[in-house]
């Protein structure tokens, strides 16, 4: 067995609580081999995403019970042990650098045996303890072919098993095979550096010659089925219909984000505002209850409210990805994206950016070209992530007439399109001014089109949503709590809630003498040109923890109490239309200042988790700091120009 010392120290640091210790099985294979489907079936819903300490490596770890409990690790797709993109590098590193797996379950697609066995041969050469699972045997059968598994096992000198993810029996057979092979020990008899040297062009050719010979021996041609002249791809990539289908798919995704999510978001909103009211009316009045209700529950509410949108977007994307369409979409937009300095492989990360920038930036790992990856990460924060939506919704509701909600909907679509337009402009400018030295390329395997496995899509959506809560959730809750404390301290101003009538007045006094107010007054010279008073300024600053906090901060700053269940939004709107600058008759929220808020939120990089993840993924501070300065500075300048320009034109 290999060194156990390093293993235990690693486990202590990062194995999640719900995953027990045990031998480690790594699933390795090409991206389209059905590896992740198999992983989901092996582990059920029992897995979590794990970070190696101090590294950008991230993978999913689950557990499965045979005779004893084993840990199962899913790795990003791999074609060769010589990585050609950052995500492939992650996989190779996870096999060699840190925790060596006790057993590798290599997954290969029977319909492209030679290509997928290439990796298996490399693994075997290293001396890994490998079990081979062959998938897509049904597809092979449809082509009139069959695979002689016993012979393949003999020729490769490896245990081989055919697996249909839908069959319980296959699963049992796989489980017993895995547990019997776990007893074997793996000793690597090669150094990685030596291997990389040895993999010359001649060697690759030899590999394939050997594999072609094996494939000839194990493939049985039962009957010849003529290959259909036209495939679905002829429609999906048709010059006209292909574009129509692509646009329709994008349109369907985004409209479902708007319309499908709304009832769920309203439900979550009312649950949280009900619990706040409930806590305040049924618990003894004290500042602890207030802090708990407004700060903590309000903060958690702010996180949960966007879950429906994130879930819907990730579900749609997971569905399209599992069906094989997303790869075709990437190929389709490669040319237009290459015109603005990006790559077809930027498509999926940019699309994810509309849910949340954090998983989107991580998804950019699949882009092999460093420059294009940097550029993709650079513009992802401009995509209209779901955290901006509550701000947009509130501001548009303020601007548009109540009886015509479609105007707001149309404006919202416009704002979403502005995000990608802005990204295109930034990307074009940067790629024109920065000299790029790497030659760009686009090589992408298109997986076979198939009906997505619903369970797998649901599971992956669930885990992406969980990741969002874990990554963004804590920050939002902490900021919400600190903001509550800042608006309620120094403490001498607290506890003035004597009776209902004077409550609003005394609370107002409290907030205007709080630390938050002092901070707001210091910052007022900066926020005033944007058309905001110090209270709006503080709300704006707290939006830097996470954009959605802006809405709950507005409620806190302008003392909007959610006493009945009429909905927080209506109350904020009513309050927004009446608040005035202190010692002045001028209203704070007018056409120009509200437009200014929208513009600012569209461009500014206000999300620190995004900065942190960009730093982690790029490996240095240059890109995240440039993003922070350019986007936030640019947003501020443009907002001031817009607000002051509109006011100069005589608009309110």
């Amino acid at each position: 067995m290999h060194s156990r010392d390093s293993l235990t120290s690693f486990e202590k640091k990062s194995s999640p609580k719900n995953i027990q210790q045990g031998p480690l099985i790594a699933l390795v294979g090409s991206a389209n081999s059905g590896k992740t489907t198999l992983f989901n079936l092996l582990t059920g819903s029992h897995y979590s995403t794990v970070n190696y300490p101090g590294a950008t490596v991230e993978y999913t770890l689950g557990q499965v019970k045979f005779d004893k409990t084993c840990r199962v690790m899913d790795t990003p797709g791999l074609t060769s042990l010589l990585p050609s993109s950052p995500d492939e590098k992650v996989t190779v590193e996870s096999l060699f650098d840190r925790e060596k797996p006790d057993l590798i379950l290599a997954v290969v697609d029977a319909t492209q045996l030679s290509r997928h066995l290439y990796l298996v041969r490399q693994l075997k050469e290293f001396g890994f303890n490998v079990v081979l699972a062959v998938t897509m045997l049904d597809l092979l059968e449809a082509r009139g072919q069959a695979l002689n598994i016993a012979r393949l096992s003999e020729m490769l000198e490896l245990p081989v098993i055919g697996v249909d993810p839908r069959s319980k029996q296959d699963f049992k057979a796989l489980a017993s095979l895995l547990s019997s092979k776990l007893l074997l020990s793996a000793t690597l008899h090669k150094r990685y550096a030596d291997f990389a040297q040895e993999m010359t062009e001649e060697r690759i050719t030899q590999y394939y010659q050997a594999l072609d010979a094996i494939e000839k021996m194990v493939m049985v041609q039962n009957k010849t089925i003529p290959v259909p002249k036209k495939s679905i791809d002829n429609w999906l990539l048709h010059p006209v219909f292909g574009l129509v289908i692509f646009l329709a798919a994008m349109f369907a995704i985004f409209t479902s984000i708007f319309w499908l999510a709304t009832p769920f978001m309203d439900a979550i909103d009312s649950v949280f505002s009900f619990s706040i009211t409930f806590a305040k009316t049924h618990l003894p009045q004290s500042w602890i209850v207030d802090m708990f209700a407004d700060g903590l529950v309000g903060g958690i509410g702010a996180v949960s409210v966007f879950l429906p949108q994130i879930i819907i977007l990730f579900f749609c994307m997971g569905y399209l990805e599992d069906s094989g369409y997303l790869a075709r979409g990437a190929a389709l937009v490669d040319k237009p994206l290459s015109k603005i300095g990006l790559n077809g492989k930027s498509f999926v990360p940019l699309l994810s950016g509309y849910a949340c920038a954090i998983p989107a930036i991580m998804a950019a790992r699949t882009i092999p070209n460093r420059f294009e990856r940097m550029l993709t990460i650079f513009i992802i924060p401009l995509m209209s992530c779901s955290a901006r939506l509550p701000v947009y919704t509130l501001m548009l509701a303020f601007l548009t007439p109540h009886d015509k909600p479609w105007i707001g909907g149309l404006a919202l679509t416009g704002l979403y399109l502005m995000g990608i337009t802005m990204g295109a402009i930034v990307s074009t400018v940067i790629s024109k001014f920065l000299s790029r030295r790497e030659v760009s390329g686009f090589i992408l395997e298109l997986p076979a089109l198939r009906k997505p496995v619903f369970r797998v899509v649901v599971l992956s959506t669930y885990h992406k949503a969980k990741q969002y809560i874990q990554k963004a959730g804590m920050t939002i809750v902490i900021i919400s709590l600190s903001l509550w404390v800042l608006t309620h301290t120094p403490p001498q101003n607290m506890g003035k809630t004597v009776n209902v009538n004077s409550e609003v007045v005394s609370e107002y006094v409290a907030v205007s003498h709080s630390y938050a107010a002092q901070l707001g007054h210091i910052l007022e010279p900066i926020t005033k040109p944007m058309g905001l008073d110090w209270r709006g300024g503080v709300a704006m600053i707290s939006g830097f923890a996470a954009r959605e906090v802006f809405v709950s901060a507005l409620a806190l700053m302008y003392r909007i109490e959610d006493q009945d269940q009429k909905g927080l939004e209506k109350k904020i709107l009513a309050r927004m239309s009446e608040v005035k600058f202190e010692n002045s008759d001028q209203k704070v929220f007018t056409l120009s200042s509200v437009l200014g808020i929208i513009l600012f939120f569209m461009i500014a990089l206000q999300c620190f988790p995004t900065v942190a993840i960009a730093r982690k993924e790029m490996g240095n501070w240059k890109i995240p700091l440039l993003q922070l300065v350019i986007y936030t500075g640019g947003a501020y300048a443009l907002t001031v120009i817009l607000v002051q320009g509109l006011r100069a034109l005589g608009l309110p």
């Binding site: 060769s80 490669d334 077809g344 240059k622």
Partner: protein, 101 residues
């Protein structure tokens, strides 16, 4: 002048000059010249070592049958069938792969 150059270099991050990804010009029949649904055989790859090795690892080795399936709506990349799978390749990359019909 010196300062400007340093700034530029530092903005270029760690991008290494990667000339090995280039493809060499020739007058042979290359993959991008195939007609729709035409079948050919990979002969050799004229490209820098990085691209060449990557293509070979993907299965573009001498003697492999390959078919041009279709292009995409914007005319680039093209879709080829190789060893049981469909692979999208930009024309600039298809140019590096010499084929015999």
């Amino acid at each position: 002048m010196g300062e400007i150059i340093t700034l530029r270099l530092s903005l270029n991050l760690d991008f290494q000059p990667n000339a090995s990804y280039h493809c060499f010009m020739t007058y042979d029949l290359t993959l991008d010249m195939l007609k729709t649904m035409q079948i050919a055989e990979v002969a050799k790859i004229s490209a820098g070592p990085v691209l060449k090795k990557h293509l070979m690892e993907l299965g573009f080795v001498e003697g492999s049958p390959i078919q041009f399936l279709m292009s995409t709506p914007f005319g680039d990349p093209n879709i080829y069938s190789l060893r049981g799978t469909s692979i999208a390749l930009r024309k600039s990359e298809a140019k590096c792969i010499h084929v015999t019909v």
